[in-house]
Amino acid sequence: MNKLIKAFTKESALVPLIAILLGLIVGAVIMLLGGYDPILAYRSLLGAVFGHRYDFGETLTAITPILFTGLAVAFAFRTGLFNIGAEGQYIMGMTGATVIGVTVHLPWYLHAPLAIIVGALAGGVWGMIAGYLKAARGVNEVITTIMLNWIALHLANYIVRQFLLEPGKGRSYRVDDSASVTIGWLSRFMDDARMHWGMVAALLGVIFFYYFLWRTKQGFELRVVGANPDAASYAGISVSKSVVKAMFISGALAGLAGVFQVLGVFHNQVISAGHTGHGFDGIAVALLGGNNPLGVLFGAILFGVLSHGAAEMSFGANVPPEIIRIVIGSVIFFVAAPGIIRWLLKRAAWKKRKEEAI
């Protein structure tokens, strides 16, 4: 608790806040240059997120997958691995859940859990491939995960087209209702927003992330390997095993993002022409959150709020929604380069002093 209080009073908490402010200012300036009204735009944005129960609910739904992929990327980072493959693991998670949701028929208390587990495993295995290739053959995980993203896309399309396709449609059959993880009463309360258990699971993911890495024996091993693999092997920790394990867990987290999109949001899987971007957004979220579980949570919220609100900005103020990517990019930029903020603050202080002197 003490730590938490300290965290908010330190410069480390001030920097993200200033970074967000600066990011929004950058966005505003660009909107002004483009001839748009930033005040109206930001008001629409906030209105879109907090103005209505429905929008609030949908914002939560938008946060869920990127919270998972953000955790996935951050987890790998913590163990010394750069997982650019959250996208592919996400797709495999989707596919695993769809396969179970469509082809297996079970009572709800078995069906949904099975679909979740299989989806997470599928994502995990997909991550593990990169981990194994790194551990056994020394192949750089950056390359393999990039390649595996594309392979996952086409493999998933194949599976959907070959085994799950609803005739005449470009997508799978609908998953059984017994596999659905929507929360009916909450959706009704939220004015039909697509509420599902994924958000809860993602929050559990945050807690798992923290507890596993900092409280368990295995997490300790992974962190040692991440921080100094040489020292790890001197301490009797198997580096290869750790790498595989870490990529499995990271992949499973990303896979869960896909699982809950299928079971909670779409209820089917389409033959997809390209990547969703959730995996890549996960990298941004992880970085925004400094690879800390709590930071990732805040990062995902910020990211989710901004991107969900972007549609309303273009709806209400006619601003191209791309502006939000510039805002998010700038925020990450200022978070990553606190030196710039300090420099700006110093200049501001210096100027003030000069003015006072005159």
């Binding site: 429905y54 739904t61 005449g168 470009g170 039909d192 022409a273 971007g277 549609a311 709806f315 929604p321």
Partner: protein, 341 residues
Amino acid sequence: GAKNNNDGGGAASPSQSPSASPSESAAPGQTVDGKDFKFAMVTDVGGINDKSFNQSAWEGLNKLKADTGAEVKNLESKEASNYLTNLNKFVRDGYNLTWGIGFLLEDAVKESADKNPDARLAIIDGEVQAPNVASIKFAENEGAFLVGVVAGSMTKSNKIGFVGGIDIPVIKRFELGFLAGVAAVNPDAKVEINYTGAFDKADLGKAAAASLYNAGADIVFHAAGATGNGVFNEAKERNKNASADKKVWVIGVDKDQSLEFGDDVTLTSMLKRVDEAVYRVSMEMIEGKFPAGQVTTLGLKDDGVGLPDTSKANVPQDILDKVEEYKQKIISGEITVPTAE
């Protein structure tokens, strides 16, 4: 079956000539007052300037605005989970009719319609079973048959190419119709099929076209969205220095692509009158004749698909006559064009 019929009062049947522009077909014209009406459309990730499908739909709505004074608006989706939220934005804002453009939005339209029974929605290229939704589909196979006739008649090498986006039912209809059309006029011609796996990768389209042309094809029909831009670029590239007898052709899709890429490479295009359909159905909404709950398939009969007038530039009249002949046979039911394997 019932769902494939447009017998809901015949309201959705456009009745003009194939190459008619929306303005000519707008029979009621300025006399209709739509000032109190609000229309909207939601696209997938492509956006309204995709030079084909979405753009066509948006043109239809803008025409409506010009003719009736109705308010129109669009939103493009950044990813699949935005489809529903974007549709709902309009539905909740009291829009009279909200369009989902493309089969990808089918499920979202269904869900929005179920949750908002008082709202009116419509879907292009999809089929939604709901009392407050109008579904508009196209018989792409019929149109593709006709361009197949053109290709089969005009190929010199007896090799023809087809570049598809992704192997999904809609595109399959293009492929099968095209194959049938070629086979009808030129059983000796061989059609090489190449699916690129994407609708948005011009580089893949270019490479696919290159391999088809290298393999001897002189005409390539694409049904691949923006991937098809690569097909055009490859053809242009080849024609730049080629002698007249080595000239290659592209058959465009959705819109009259000769307007974009020029007559020198565009042999003809397989039109899909999304603009017309959007305009029509919206107009019916204003007139109080919205075909709610109906699935309308627009084929040759309804001029929902067909060839543009500009085909004259490259396709000789005798072949166009043949095309017209086949068109009548399809309309009369003498020929049935396959829709699926």
